[in-house]
């Protein structure tokens, strides 16, 4: 039996539900629409030209900043977490990995509302602080960019922890012993051996977090309220409320191309690293 046959179901699936819709999106991004949202099948690049309006540039920059911040914070929190987990015995490691992954099993909408319950004026934190007399006015914890960042970091953390955990787990312990034997203090061993050798895990985690943070719309929508507008929300609005499918499509395409370039860059860097090692 030809082994390629096994790949057919997934190919059919991808063609039907990814490639074809994507072609539609590309096509729609180049046509016009009527005042009431009907599509008019006439070619235009107006949808793309609109993107350079300051309003949208601003949204794009905000989104980028948010994604970068999310990546940095998940790294700062995720690396020590992954590192600590690898130092535990196998049994504890499994428990912690499950704990890290549990949020995946719960719908992200529900998780976002959980944050609303915790952060809102009559929420858990404000109620506690008020009852302990630490504050006398509820703090505005919700519906600002900090709460969006918090929600983003919370949802993206596992994507950072897991690849870093894998690369730390695969790290040859004997290298650490050799480093210590050669006179490196634990901190220097970490800096010169552990960190450089887990860079691929860090890069993989960062790409995963950054790209999904770029397109995120559920979290900013719920914990960010009406004030927050990131690209994800903008796209969602164009399709659902503004009924401007062509503009929404153009935004989607730009976002996708941007993500694609990042992924290609990542593979390029990996490849350069590998060929460097092969060539004398």
């Amino acid at each position: 039996m030809n082994k390629k046959v096994l790949a057919w179901p997934i190919l059919v699936w991808l063609t039907l539900f990814l490639t074809v819709p994507l072609c539609f999106v590309v096509a729609v991004s180049f046509i016009q629409r009527s005042a009431y949202g009907q599509l008019i099948y006439r070619f235009t690049i107006q949808n793309y030209l609109r993107l350079i309006e300051p309003l949208y540039i601003q949204i794009f920059i905000d989104t980028l900043l948010m994604a970068i911040l999310t990546t940095i914070i998940t790294f700062i929190l995720g690396y020590p977490l992954a590192y600590t987990i690898t130092k535990m015995n196998k049994h504890l490691q499994n428990i912690w990995l499950v704990l890290v992954m549990i949020p995946f099993w719960i719908n992200s909408l529900i998780r976002s509302y959980a944050w609303v319950i915790i952060l809102r004026s009559q929420g858990l934190i404000n109620t506690l602080l008020l009852s302990w007399g630490i504050i006398d006015q509820p703090l505005a914890l919700l519906y600002n960019s900090s709460s969006v960042l918090l929600g983003m970091v919370y949802t993206q953390l596992p994507f950072m922890v897991l690849p870093i955990y894998v690369s730390l787990e695969q790290l040859d312990r004997r290298l650490l012993e050799a480093s210590s034997d050669l006179g490196a203090t634990p901190w220097k061993t970490f800096w010169h051996i552990t960190l450089p050798l887990t860079l691929p895990g860090i890069a993989a985690g960062s790409i995963l977090v950054f790209i999904s943070a770029l397109g995120m719309f559920v979290v900013p929508d719920i914990v960010g309220g009406a004030k927050s507008a990131l690209i994800g929300n903008l796209i969602q609005n164009q399709f659902l409320s503004a009924r401007n499918w062509p503009f929404g499509s153009a935004l989607s395409i730009v976002l996708s191309v941007f993500s694609l370039i990042l992924i290609l860059l990542y593979y390029r860097v990996l490849k350069v690293q590998q060929t460097k090692e092969v060539k004398p």
């Binding site: 050799a178 034997d181 006179g183 490196a184 090692e277």
Partner: protein, 340 residues
Amino acid sequence: MTKKQHVMIQLETIEKNFAENQVIPPLNLSIFEGEFLTLLGPSGCGKTTLLRMIAGLEEPSAGNIYLDGQQVTYLPPYKRDVNMIFQHYALFPHMTVEQNILFGLRMKKVSPTEREKRISQVIALTQLEAYRQRKPRQLSGGQQQRVAIARALVNNPKVLLLDEPLGALDYQLRKSLQIELKSLQRELGLTFIYVTHDQEEALTMSDRIVVMNQGKIEQTGTPHEIYHTPMSQFVAGFIGENNFIKHEDFYISLRPEKINLCEVMFQGESPPPLTDDTSRLTGTITDVVFYGTIDKVFIHLDDSGQTIMAYQYFDDKRRWQAGEKVGLWWNLKDEVRLDR
């Protein structure tokens, strides 16, 4: 043995337990400056654990370790003046050969001029000039081995610890590196502690061998002593090949190369009486196995029913065949009496 008997490493009632298991019961050992000492034993005998305790990678459960007179028992590895060559070299894959070798000096903040001087020395010594800028994975096993040696030697350690450093290499390369390592050690006058389970390696390279079994030291001595006058059945059986002949309450061991074969003159009658310096038995050959330089002849003894093995070197007039009756004799001085 070297003339100077300065003690470089002193292990004092060193003991190691992992959880409930006692891996090494209390043990004493002195290692002298400039000697090539081998810890020899089957896998799991505690030799690597002992080495790792000297390196500081493992903490003893009790006892003391002195390095050049100084108590180092609980000193972390990075503060000890010893360096280790690991079983699979443990070279840093993201660094070039040069960076690997410089690592120790950089960690100890040695000045750049001094660094350059020392690295050129070890690179010349290990013939790695052409590979300075390569990454470890672009090197052959033997070259990686050399990098590991250079990386350790460049730090001028007081003692070099080697954990089965040749284990991963093929037979021919191992042979030539054994000779290289030995001459390197002699040239530098450095103290080597070498861990291996390969008795041949131990015999050819060491000044002194410590034979270990189940965490205990079975015997310490020169290769010659260990081979010719083993003090226990374990040592006699682990090093080289041996025959054990049971007497009432003890065994004697007899090396197969010491046994001579002869025709049985008085077939059906008793063999000639024993003289003072020879011993005589008769038996039937059960098997003859060709080993290249020797034939191994297996003989079923008539009186005790035991099987004895003897080497034959093809200098005899004839080759023995299975099924033949044969006489055996050897010099009494070649017998080693074993009380344990």
